[in-house]
Amino acid sequence: MKRWSVDLQKLIYTHIVMIGLPTIFYYCLRQGGFTLINVHIAIATFFLVSSIMIIVEATQALFRRFAAPTQAADLDPVERWWRSFKQAFGLRRQRQRKLPRPLPRCSVLLVAYLPNEQDIILETLRKILNTVYRSAAGLEVILAYNTPVDLPIETDLQRLAQLYPEFKPLRVEGSHSKAENINAALDLLTGEITCILDADHHPSPDCFVRAWHWLEQGYDVVQGRNVIRNHTYNLMTQNIAIEFESLYGVSHPAKSFLTDSTIFGGSNGYWRTAVLKRIRFNPMMLTEDIDATMRTLLSGYRIIHDRSIIATELAPLDFNSFWFQRKRWAQGWLEVSFKYQRRVWKSQHFNFPQKLYWTYLLYYCVIYSLFALQILPLLLSLFLYHGSFPPSENAYLWVCTVITFFSGFYQTAVTMKVAANRYPGVYFLQYAVIIFAYTTLKNMISTVALYDHLHGHNQWVVTPRGAQRNQVIQPETAPVLAPTASVVSTK
């Protein structure tokens, strides 16, 4: 298994460049009599903008539930005021609209890299086949997988296909990526809606019904909420669980609320199959999901986030997996930012607030991770010069600092309120305490990702699943479906 320490050299190098050299630079300027207050204010402003965005997003996520405008025109003024009042406190109940058309035929497209995910795939299949509601028109489940060698689990999959006619395993020869697996399966899809799932994702039973509401209202893609189910494993999984609640419960819905556009996150996404077959996935991109998002939005299709459509997934269990997963995400976002930002500015399918918001998500986030780090050399140079940290008398800096810290706590509090699960309070407490260290770590990873991107290094490191061990492929092992098959057959 590739160790994160292979990136240690890059980490040291990038941080010498990003922190070491600027520290000397700022120190020289301080020696020359510069106070550098303007530089400090500029960096603090970066933090302030991000913090305000976090506060706005969290507030939106707290008080709003629907991205689309509610049909309140036919209500009397008192009822309308009462609803607004309740909405302000997040007290309004979830309202299910009537379906204009019954749920059509649905497809689940499950994607797996089997040597890595052979331990968990059967559990996921059982979950989907046994729990997801089926429309009268039916459900199909396609497992698109790749594997470099024949595996005993493939025999199990064939047996499962005999038990469930709606299940089709599809081995994609020559595939090396998730995008290739999905593209290979697209021609087989017969449903009007297609749900894309990763091998570790367990969707909620009513996922298609909820997604269909939005697709019927003119949206083309619905992104659901991903929740960590192995959060009890260690401190890191606890932290990631809260981070995911924050992402899928606060940030992504807020995008929908604020701009009526959001991202497809790669899994637990519900597509109009016709749109999916047209967009397809790009195997040359590190984050093919974000790439598909941009192409979908630029082509005039609409994506919405519904946090009531829940799927559970597994968080990486060790730092090694976490490092490579986050580096791929960071580098993938960089790749997408450099590829699509200019087109967002020029696109007729984005209105001005959407252009502004997507600039915040793309280019601003790229430079934020670099600028945010500059606070360290600035403070280090101050320490070197004075031998201590003299308190600042600048009111603006204090305001920025307070708002920055407040935003982290506020976001955590809102996440606690809107969380899909009732987690122990200590999870939120420790998340609020370590959020700044955690954000710094992610900024460090982003810096290494930028290094890799500029150097054209774009290797995909698979996130280990299941037993979290070095996977040794042993084709001679006996099939393991027997107990599973019995469970299935007794159902």
Partner: protein
Amino acid sequence: MMNQRGERSPHLAWIDGMLVCSVVMLLLYHVQLRFTGYAYTPQPTGLANNLQQVMVATYRLPDLGWLTQGLGFISWFGFQWIDVLVLVGGFSLVVKLEPQRFLPRRFLGRSLGQVLWPFWTVVWLAYPILWAIAIATKTYFPPAWYLFAGLTFPVVYTYNSDLLLSTSANWWLLSLLLSFVVIFPFLWRLLHRWGRRNLLVVSVLVTVGYRALAVYVLQGHPTYVLWDSPASSQPFALFLAKLSIFVVGMVAGSAYGHRRGPACWPPLGAIALGLGIYSLGFVSQFYYWGWIGSDLLLSAGLALGCMGVMRGLAQVEWLAVGMMTLGHYAYPYFLLYGLVTDRILQFIVQGEPAQYIMALPVMVVGTLILAMVTDYVAPLLRRVVMGLLQDLDYVLSATPKLQQRVWKLHVGDQVFYRGEEGWTVLKVEKLWDEQEFILCQVSDGQRSLWAKEEELKPRGK
């Protein structure tokens, strides 16, 4: 001298050796001149007088034995290696070109990029550092107009780069380099139209004629001489003063392409002839009349001698590898040495002879390390800047460019991938991105990868 990684041939390792030797000698010359306060530059006062002056100046250098004295003596004439760089530049450009594939526009774009990107990298990174040093130490920092000229070069262009001199004295060569890059396609055409001999004769006549004019009519003096003349060194900073040196390099390169000429002579013969020519040039540089042809003789002699030595050394494999490795950094090394050595002399050596001796190797190696950093950063900076410019162009252009498909791809097609032959299309994937675009999985039999359709070309077209 420009960076051309990937184009180096082991057979030409000696060229890299000459480049390394040239830039190190230029560094030593620069350092010695600054340390001694310009104790000696060649004067048009005759051989005997100059030898006397140079011996006096050499004895004033810190003495650690005959080696440092010898090196000190040679370093007074380190300026001559500038002309070796010009000559090697002409040679390298011709040797690396394929006559059938020469496109002036592509050559200009590529060569100007190879000159300017490392320069911009040095300038954009060095100015903030130099500014911080100047602020911290309350020392000299160039006025804003000269900084602007450096940051925007060659937008603010002068034929002798005088606006760059307040930052680094050796940057005067940049305008000369750009001049030769720009006129190279014209000279290349003449080389093939007139032939090597005719071009050589004409260029020598033009250079000698111009230098005679520069000395006797325009009343100037060579760039490396401290002398009181009405036109100063300005006439000698124009490319015409060194045209024949560049052409000699081109002609030698062209002959080398046919396995003829000086680059194919036996090393010892080249050294012997080089010494003879150099001796003539060495003597002539101390006389007015000698200024007319001294640079050509000195550069030709020095280049021949150095080539003989380097070709001999390049027979040893590890030395050849070393030459090729270090030769790659010659250009950024040249750009940096003035900045590095001036600061070390100012802040560390501070006129102390003992410090000077100890700082010499630090300056040589330190400049090399910074040259490596520059070489490493330049492509990254280029990518970022070009990306931002493309963004700007895309946003501002009225009609964004749409990809036009000129051929249809099928599974099994034999294609060129990024100009490389032997690839077969395994899979064709049609995606949508405001318009249809195609990705292909291609294989060369050993590996397969995904490529954009614009990276592929059908075989046979």
